[in-house]
């Protein structure tokens, strides 16, 4: 009898569990709105080049956004969502700053005051976007309570640094809003690259206050005033954007909705693209590249990532404190081979830090500045001899086979191991020393590199339009991740950052780049690029790396 009871009880448990789970499904799934991903419009044949009536996209989104609050977000990827749901004062369009939330802007004669005039725009609930909204965002970004990770992007504003570290009150910030349509920023020094390197988003003070800590954590707690409105957010799964009819430029936006899918697994991404669940995708897998190249309904484009892959050297290390040793390791890198093998032919060998896409004002940087490593290479044809010289200077003798150094990677995958071994082999062959490999997960790796707990490490740095961003990474007291402390370099970079004349600024940046690359604080390896495949019906995709236009220019033509 008791056994029968026990059996019954366990069956009951199972049943109650199943019903409980069934109930959970409804709450997790949200409303069962049909996710239309395929336009069903059948146009008359003469209309084939006209945009489809149903305009909707399904694309891959890189990661779950941390929080959609401009003062607390942590992920660099989160910005791309802000470009879609918020209206920054200025957007980058075709590589140059273009009017967006601001109709116009002007610098004062001494370049220390920047005045924006806002255009008429509305939040999706109908409230007008005012200068106060932009000021609110900056004030919240400076508030130490929000511990904003990218606070240093705004140090050009008077007292921003002091306020963000809690040394001054928020009132001291150099921001003024004389009226609803005017925003004035007071700058500590002339900052010609400000608009191409920092974003100014608006933020609703009333909603932020009402929501408290949960502001920006759900779709209904994220006020929108950009080209799109965030209507659904299934965390860790998908975000749904709908066109914002109250957006100032709504008439020129064709796309009606977009689903941003968060798919962590690369095979699942490829499968989703292959069966048409995604409209475009960056593909690096060689087999899939070949497969997609053979499809008639797809096209490809090569997009420079404006990112420099590099090996950083720890200049405080016993061995790598010596410049000649660093130079030897830098010169021994076979950049052509690595770019070809690792990137499947998409990357460009890098003999400098600043990628070809960067410019200074209207001048392209790379066209006006030679790659410093080419000159160094011409000067020293024998990297091993250089290493021996360096070793002698350190009292390590001449026998390079007695030198053992370690090379750290921030990934533990099989691919990472293969690539690391490629570097290892290359250095061991060219220099005769022993290179040991160290693999860590990316968080540990990044923490080690930032704390100077390494000898050589793989890393990469993305660029902004102006070289200022990448060069500034080493222009601080610590000397960046390389701990390469050079007062001349620091003053050169900061002088350049404040030089308004484009030609002069470019010249200063070029000098700084030559200084750091020649002294080998790091060894640039290649400039990365991505191969993107898309279905032929997709229009409006651009390869402009720096653009911050979001999805607003995309539409479909002739989708079946």
């Amino acid at each position: 009898m008791k056994r029968a009871f026990a059996l019954l009880l366990s069956l009951l448990m199972l049943c109650s569990l199943l019903t409980a789970c069934g109930g959970g499904n409804e709450t997790a799934g949200g409303d069962e709105k049909e996710q239309e991903t395929q336009g069903s419009q059948t146009d008359t044949p003469d209309n084939t080049n006209a945009p489809d009536e149903v305009q909707t996209l399904s694309i891959l989104y890189s990661a779950e956004p941390s929080v959609l609050d401009v003062a607390r977000f942590l992920g660099i990827a989160d910005r791309s969502l802000f470009y879609n749901v918020l209206e920054p004062l200025v957007r980058i369009e075709n590589g140059v700053p273009a009017a967006a939330g601001a109709e116009s802007w002007s610098f004062s004669d001494d370049d220390l005051t920047l005045t924006f005039t806002l255009r008429d725009n509305c939040w999706s609930d109908g409230q007008p976007v005012t200068s106060e909204d932009y000021a609110t965002a900056l004030r919240r970004q400076a508030d130490p309570k929000n511990a904003f990770a990218f606070a240093s992007d705004y140090y050009a504003i008077v007292n921003f640094e002091a306020v963000s570290t809690g040394e001054m009150d928020a009132d001291a910030l150099g921001i003024e809003t004389p009226d609803d349509k005017t925003l004035v920023l007071h700058l500590t020094a002339p900052t010609p690259a400000l608009l191409s390197s920092s974003e100014f988003f608006p933020c609703r003070a009333d909603v932020a206050e009402a929501c408290g800590d949960t502001f920006g954590t759900e779709a209904d707690k994220t006020p929108c005033c950009g080209p799109f409105v965030l209507t659904e957010w299934t965390h860790n799964s998908a975000l749904k954007l709908e066109k914002n009819e109250k957006y100032w430029n709504a008439d020129n936006i064709l796309l009606q909705s977009a689903t941003l899918n968060i798919i962590p697994d690369s095979n699942a991404q490829l499968a989703s693209f292959e069966n048409g669940s995604l409209d475009y995708l960056t593909v690096s897998d060689a087999d899939y590249v070949k497969k997609f190249q053979g499809r008639d309904d797809m096209s490809e484009m090569l997009i420079p990532s404006a990112r420099t892959q590099m090996v950083v050297f720890n200049c405080k290390d016993d061995v790598f404190q010596n410049a000649k040793i660093r130079q030897a390791f830098s010169l021994a890198i076979d950049r052509e081979m690595l770019a070809e093998v690792i990137s499947n032919g998409t990357a460009t060998p890098a003999y400098s830090l600043i990628p070809a896409e960067c410019s200074v004002g209207s001048l392209n940087f790379r066209e006006n500045a030679d790659e410093p490593l080419l000159a160094l290479k011409a000067q020293h044809s024998d990297a091993k001899a250089l290493l021996q010289e360096g070793m002698k200077e350190l009292g390590l003798g001449e026998d390079t086979s007695k030198l053992t150094v370690s090379f750290a990677w921030g990934a533990t995958t099989a691919t990472a191991r293969t690539y690391a071994e490629l570097y290892q082999q290359m250095w061991q062959d060219a220099l005769g020393c022993v290179v040991e490999l160290e693999f860590n997960d990316s968080s540990t790796h990044m923490s080690n590199v930032n704390q100077g707990n390494y000898q050589m490490a793989i890393t990469s740095w993305g660029a902004n339009i102006e070289p200022q961003f990448q060069l500034s990474r080493w222009a601080n007291k610590k000397g960046g991740q390389s701990q390469w402390q050079n007062a001349d370099y620091n003053s050169l970079v900061s002088r350049a950052n404040q030089t308004v004349d484009e030609k002069e600024r470019l010249e200063l940046y070029a000098q700084a780049e030559e200084m750091i690359v020649t002294d080998a604080a790091f060894a640039p390896v290649y400039f990365a690029a991505q191969r993107r495949f898309y279905y032929n019906y997709l229009q409006g995709l651009t390869g402009n790396t720096f653009d911050t236009m979001g999805l607003s220019g995309l539409y479909t033509v002739g989708r079946e």
Partner: protein
């Protein structure tokens, strides 16, 4: 019985406390912190502000005391990687997702597994037995991610019957459940088979056969019931695992479940989420074990009496 339950509850709290303490110090001993994991080359002053904001500038002992105090007040804290999301809300939102997938696959896997096990045992060394055992061995040896990747490609690209990834509709559940119930089917089939074979050799079965009880009755009343009991122990621990989800399946099918959340929290050094989820997983597991013990005590008086004494 009450004394037995209370005693077990007491042990449970001690275990929970020990697990939480060990996890706390382990998590904090991994190099890196959430913001270093997210932001490359953070300025020192920003890092200081951040550490102070979350109290990480305090000595570890102080942090531990504060953490335990907060836990006792029922506050598991807030995610560091996803500011503004409370750990308790994360559990509330994602545990049901993992629960649906895990619960369904366990129920289906369990049922099919048990049936296959009985079928195999009753046809010992005949073809159904051999077929089922081959399938069971394949099911336990082929890793889930292989099954998942193959099924995903076949059923969403080659024959686009199901959506590749996503969550929210019934059709999204089919593939993940299919992949996840392969394991339970194999495990329970093998377990049930040996359990049935043990029972078949018991004297009381022989007695029943001698009495002339029909084969059907022997199987349903004697063999099934007696060989099923050991499976209760197994299913209790499996049920405990339902809500912790499967990292692999959730990643491959982009399902917003707890399994993926937990693993990425470790990678992101999201201390409070790791700790909070750990407390909840441990709690569920211990509770399941307790229920299992109670069930066993109810079914088998010997356990109860030896414990009472």
């Amino acid at each position: 019985m009450l004394k037995f339950t209370l005693k077990r509850l007491g042990y449970m709290l001690v275990v929970l406390f020990i697990v939480v303490t060990i996890t706390f110090f382990l998590v904090h001993s991994i190099p890196g912190d959430p913001i270093t994991a997210m932001v490359q080359d953070l300025p020192e002053e920003t890092r200081t502000v951040y550490l102070a904001r979350y109290g990480f500038d305090q000595p570890l002992g102080v942090q531990y005391v504060r953490f335990i105090k907060a836990c006792l007040c029922g506050n598991l804290g807030e995610s560091l990687r996803y500011p503004g999301r409370k750990v308790i809300d994360i559990v509330r939102n994602y545990a049901p997702v993992s629960g649906v997938i895990g619960g369904l696959s366990l129920a289906i896997g369990f049922t099919i597994g048990i049936l296959c096990g009985i079928l195999a045992a009753l046809n010992r060394n005949k073809w159904p037995d051999k077929l089922i055992m081959v399938i069971a061995i394949l099911g336990t040896t082929i890793p889930t991610f292989v099954t998942a990747a193959v099924l995903q490609y076949l059923l969403t690209v080659t024959w686009p019957i199901f959506p590749t990834t996503g969550w929210g509709q019934a059709k999204h559940i089919v593939l993940p459940v299919l992949c996840m119930c392969v394991g339970p089917v194999a495990t329970y089939a093998r377990y049930m088979r040996s359990s049935v074979l043990d029972t078949v050799n018991q004297d009381y079965i022989l007695t029943a056969e001698a009495k002339g009880v029909s084969q059907f009755r022997i199987v349903t009343r004697h063999i099934f019931r007696n060989s099923f009991l050991p499976c209760i122990t197994m299913i209790c621990s499996s049920i405990a695992g339902i809500f912790s989800g499967s990292f692999i399946i959730e990643s491959i099918f982009a399902i917003p479940g707890l399994g993926k959340y937990f693993i990425s929290a470790i990678n992101d050094r999201d201390y409070s989420v790791v700790l909070g989820l750990n407390i909840i997983f441990t709690g569920i597991y211990i509770l399941a074990m307790l229920l299992c013990d109670i069930l066993m005590a109810l079914t088998d008086p010997r356990i109860r009496y030896s414990n009472d004494r």
